[in-house]
């Protein structure tokens, strides 16, 4: 007698859809995990098929971060919810200066989502994790009734280890420090807007979604004294700088002419009445460091593929009100305040 296959019928990723059984803990769920998640995330720890991943860690400081992803639409120019969920958490871990080691992924699936779409997302996640060298080692899947979620939500958690001597935190900015950014701002938000069904416009702009940990590793290697790192995601550059100013109780002075913005992003923002300083990024970081480290860091950033357009955009100043101000290209000055309300919902 021939060996019976565990799942005689392959998971129908051509025209099948997720139903409640895929989250019920039974055979359908086991098949989904095996033929989709384990297949595409493939790594030794996941293959052990335990409810947790066990691994050894080196001595030192560990960091841990988690991020939920609810973006609409699921697929957009330059990425999708899968790659975004990998990059987002790797970046949150890396912004401590840490080397990210492992990821977990939790899926909330809406009944009815096409298995073909889910497969595309999972393949994209597997690729992003593989390219970054940060495996997804454990996960969870739940299915909710139609209308109780929007197709798929993904929560990823990451852990990493901080190299000896690195102490990066949002409260360490000091008057006199330089403020750097690794490239043009607003790309992600504009790419998402261009693909929204109620707002279609043609643009060649792609999301900047990328894992920044190798850039951070290069930066930390030349300047272990970096004070702050943060990725300006929702709320954009303006909001993140305000967070850092508040945390460190300092002010900031930016120079509008030195902030890199792609002409197509500027044009799209002009049309939609948005300020690119508040538009989201998914592959950018802000670095605050002592003035004497700034030039060296800038060169290291510009030598990395994700930092070619890096620039020094301003400096940290003393200010008890923690205002972020900007010298405008026009010749005046303005406050760059916190984002009020929301510019655009569900961008990550």
């Amino acid at each position: 007698m021939t060996n019976l296959k565990r799942f005689p019928m392959r998971l129908n990723t051509r025209d099948g859809a997720v139903d409640m059984t895929h989250g019920s803990g039974g055979r359908a769920m086991a098949q989904l995990i095996e033929e989709l998640f384990v297949k595409h995330f493939d790594n030794e720890l996941l293959r052990q098929a335990n409810d947790q991943a066990a691994f050894d860690v080196s001595a030192g400081r560990m960091v841990m971060s988690t991020d939920g992803h609810v973006i609409s639409p699921l697929f957009f120019p330059g990425g999708d919810i899968g790659s975004l969920s990998v990059h987002g958490t790797i970046n949150d871990v890396a912004m401590s200066g840490a080397k990210p080691l492992y990821l977990s992924a939790g899926f909330i699936l809406e009944e009815g989502i096409a298995l073909a779409d889910l497969e595309k997302i999972v393949i994209s996640m597997g690729r992003a994790a593989g390219a970054a060298g940060v495996p997804i080692v454990t996960g969870d899947t739940k299915v909710v009734e139609k209308g109780k979620a929007d197709k798929v939500f993904i929560t990823t958690t990451g852990v990493g280890v901080v190299p000896e001597g690195v102490n990066i935190s949002g409260n360490r900015a000091q008057a006199g420090d330089a403020i750097l950014v690794n490239g043009s701002i607003g790309d992600h938000g504009v790419a998402i807007m261009s693909s929204r069904e109620n707002l279609q416009f043609e643009t060649t702009i792609e999301s900047d979604s990328a894992a920044l940990h190798t850039l951070v590793a290069d930066m930390v290697a030349v300047a272990s004294g970096i004070h702050c790192l943060r990725d300006p995601t929702r709320g954009g550059l303006a909001t993140t700088l305000n967070e850092l100013a508040q945390q460190s109780q300092v002010g900031m002075k930016l120079s509008e002419t030195s902030i890199p913005i792609k002409p197509a992003v500027a044009a799209a923002c002009e049309l939609l009445g948005l300020d690119p300083l508040y538009v989201a990024n998914e592959g950018k970081l802000i670095c605050i460091c002592a003035q004497q480290d700034a030039q060296g860091l800038l060169e290291v950033m510009q030598a990395h593929p994700l930092g070619r357009e890096a620039a020094i955009i301003g400096e940290v100043v003393e200010d008890q009100n923690a205002f972020v101000q900007m010298q405008t290209r026009f010749g005046g000055s303005r406050v760059v305040d916190w984002l009020a309300g929301e510019q655009l919902p569900r961008i990550c």
Binding site: R329, S333, A340
Partner: protein, 382 residues
């Protein structure tokens, strides 16, 4: 960005700034009201005030359509969406405007009401086509600039035979409001505050032309310059106003010649006149009832008029106590004169209309101008 950056040029700004400082009379004040929120925004976003002499003051007027919409109209829209269960299509700015009972469209949306943010009347029409079984109402607001697209949408709906589309019309008129500001007792009798000249909103004039201001400049002896919305336009227009004031003239001049003519867009005017007519009066937040300052949909298009289509009473609502929006809108007070400003009224939690839209004077002050206040205080202490 071509055709935009040219109007934000640093070098030209410096040249204009020195031209202005050469021409001003240091012994007098120049109080120039920018009627429109678009100008307020440009002044703060580009830091135009920094380039002006100290005796030239920008007074922020009531020209933000979101800000002047009275509470009762938002209450009405909330009734439409909650009680009549319509799909309410609205521009994003309106979502956070405070209504009665601490409500807002954003809050009722969170409670499950079908409020949809749109970017144009065409989005609203599309939603109506896609939901033939539902009533779809477009919350129309704005000055003369946004009125023609609403008129087009109504004509389109009629042409297509759309049976489920209507418009809640809140379109208002600029010249009537400016006249009202100058006629207000606070400005006429108290004499404590004077406005010397006006920046006319150029997008409005691209429709109505510059001509409607001619009577007004003559009647009130105040110069008006139709000004574009780029920062160089604002500075050039300020220079033109200053020159008129120095020479004792009070004319309507057009700085925005690249778009505006004296007659305006006749085609758009005809279209609006076909679909809409003057209301006897319309309530403005801050200004009260202003005669002949708003438009309603003509009886021949009654089926597309939400106010006629639905049986919802329009209730008079009162504004928040202590809120200085009425005086701020008339340029009598500055946002920082209001006790609520920055204390309980912030962009995250707006109490008055001027804090709601980014074009509102209070929001602009809060977002872009707030840092000046501590600096001024330090100076006055020293």
């Amino acid at each position: 960005m071509k055709y935009v950056e040219e109007f934000r040029c640093h070098d030209l700004a410096q040249q204009l700034a020195s031209a202005i400082s050469r021409e001003i009379n240091p012994d007098r004040q120049y109080r120039l009201m920018e009627f429109c929120g678009g100008h307020t925004h440009a002044i703060f976003r580009y830091g135009v005030q920094d380039l002006m002499p100290a005796n030239v003051t920008f007074v922020h007027g009531p020209g933000c359509p979101v800000c002047v919409l009275p509470t009762g109209r938002i209450d009405y829209a909330i009734q439409l969406v909650q009680e009549q269960e319509v799909i309410l299509c609205t521009y994003g700015d309106l979502l956070r405007v405070p209504a009665s009972g601490r409500k807002s469209l954003l809050k009722v949306k969170a409670e499950g009401a079908d409020v949809r943010m749109v970017y144009s009347t065409q989005d609203a029409l599309r939603i109506a086509r896609e939901n033939p079984q539902r009533e779809v109402v477009f919350f129309a607001i704005g000055f003369e600039t946004t009125t023609p697209p609403t008129a087009v949408a109504i004509k389109q709906a009629q042409g297509e035979g759309l049976k489920n589309f209507s418009v809640f019309c809140n379109h208002v008129l600029t010249p009537a409001a400016i006249q009202n500001i100058l006629e207000s007792p606070e400005l006429r009798e108290m004499g404590s505050v004077s406005i010397d000249g006006f920046f006319g909103p150029s997008h409005v004039s691209s429709i109505i032309g510059s001509q409607p201001y001619e009577f007004f400049a003559e009647e009130f002896q105040k110069p008006v310059v139709i000004a574009g919305f780029e920062p160089l336009d604002v500075m050039q227009s300020a220079l033109m106003l200053i020159r008129q004031l120095n020479e004792g003239r009070h004319e309507v001049e057009n700085e925005y010649t690249r778009v505006v003519t004296r007659e305006g867009n006749r085609k758009a005017q005809t279209l609006v006149a076909e679909v809409m007519e003057l209301r006897r009066d319309f309530e403005w937040r801050g200004l009260g009832r202003v005669p002949y300052s708003g438009l309603r949909i003509k009886p021949s298009f009654a089926e597309f008029d939400a106010e006629q289509r639905f049986d919802v009473p329009l209730v008079q609502a009162s504004d928040i106590k202590g809120c200085e929006c009425p005086r701020i809108l008339r340029g009598v007070k500055k946002p920082t004169d209001c006790k609520l400003f920055g204390v309980i009224c912030t962009p995250e939690n707006p109490m008055g209309s001027c804090m709601v839209s980014s074009e509102g004077a209070c929001a602009a002050y809060w977002s872009y101008g707030r840092f000046r206040k501590p600096a001024e205080q330090q100076e006055s202490v020293a």
